[in-house]
């Protein structure tokens, strides 16, 4: 027998241990399962978080606007009161 034939005999295929294919399938399935559920779970959490953040932000903006409007109204009343006071003082001075 020549070297090439000896090499073919020495390097002929052999099977892995029993149950190899089943172990591969089990690993493939176990890797696949979390992949299917994880993105859905992550999407649900992300959407919920975005809703909470959006609603909170909207509420905060409304609150800030209301507070600013209140402060503006008070300022306007103070200005109006100041003007009325100064006008009243002028009238009183003229009468005296």
């Amino acid at each position: 027998m020549n070297l090439e034939d000896e090499l073919r005999a020495a390097l002929r295929r052999e099977d892995p241990s029993l149950g190899f294919a089943k172990r591969v399938v089990a690993r493939a399935q176990s890797r696949r399962a979390p992949r299917k559920t994880m993105p859905r779970f992550i999407w649900a959490v992300a959407i919920a978080a975005m809703l909470v953040i959006g609603l909170t932000a909207t509420y905060e903006v409304r609150q800030m606007k209301a507070e600013r409007a209140g402060r503006d109204a008070v300022l306007a009343l103070r200005i109006a009161a100041d003007k009325l006071n100064s006008a009243r003082e002028k009238v009183v001075r003229r009468e005296n």
Partner: protein
């Protein structure tokens, strides 16, 4: 040479059908495992790498179009996985074949002599990475140099050079070993 088996029907639906995928693994497991085993000379590691190759196949299946494509893909990925593994891990120090100790002499030179086969497997496993894969594809898978060049994306001249040089080295090594002359 290769059975068509599950081959005709292909793979887009296989990821949803574990039994068909298992059948596909059975069809190719000897090729992938033996390549790894001959290359690494370590059955446990070879099984681990073979499993990784099939898991990679499982993810890749939807994009593979035919049984020939699957076979070509498996050879290519296994070969490159093995070369990368030995380059990165360096679990076995690489040494040129000339530096490998002479194997023990065989008692006989008849065909399928287990001692001679063991010596040949050791010598092939001591070849440099690319030459080792080329020899495995040539003598385990019985591919001709053109198919090896295609499988490894390697120029055919390089494949032929690896084969000639490796065979010469093996002959020289064996002829130096008492009682073995091929």
């Amino acid at each position: 040479m290769f059975t068509q088996g599950i081959a005709g029907a292909i793979p887009k639906v296989m990821t949803d059908d574990p039994e068909r995928f298992e059948e596909l693994v059975r069809e190719h497991q000897a090729m992938v495992f033996s390549m790894a085993c001959r290359y690494l000379r370590n059955r446990a590691l070879a099984e681990e790498i073979a499993q990784d190759v099939f898991l990679q196949l499982y993810r890749k299946l939807p994009s593979l179009e035919s049984s020939e494509h699957v076979l070509h893909w498996l050879r290519w990925v296994t070969a490159h996985r093995l070369i990368d593994h030995s380059r990165q891990e360096k679990r076995r120090p690489q040494s040129p074949l000339e530096d490998v100790p002479e194997p023990a002499a065989a008692d006989s030179t008849g065909s399928a002599d287990p001692l001679l086969s063991e010596m040949l497997r050791d010598l092939v496993a001591s070849l440099p990475e690319n030459a080792r894969v080329v020899m495995i594809l040539r003598y385990q898978e019985d591919l001709d140099p053109m198919d090896i060049a295609r499988a490894l994306d390697m120029p055919i001249a390089t494949v032929k050079s690896h084969l000639q040089r490796s065979l010469a080295l093996l002959r020289e090594k064996l002829s130096r070993t008492k009682g073995v002359g091929l």
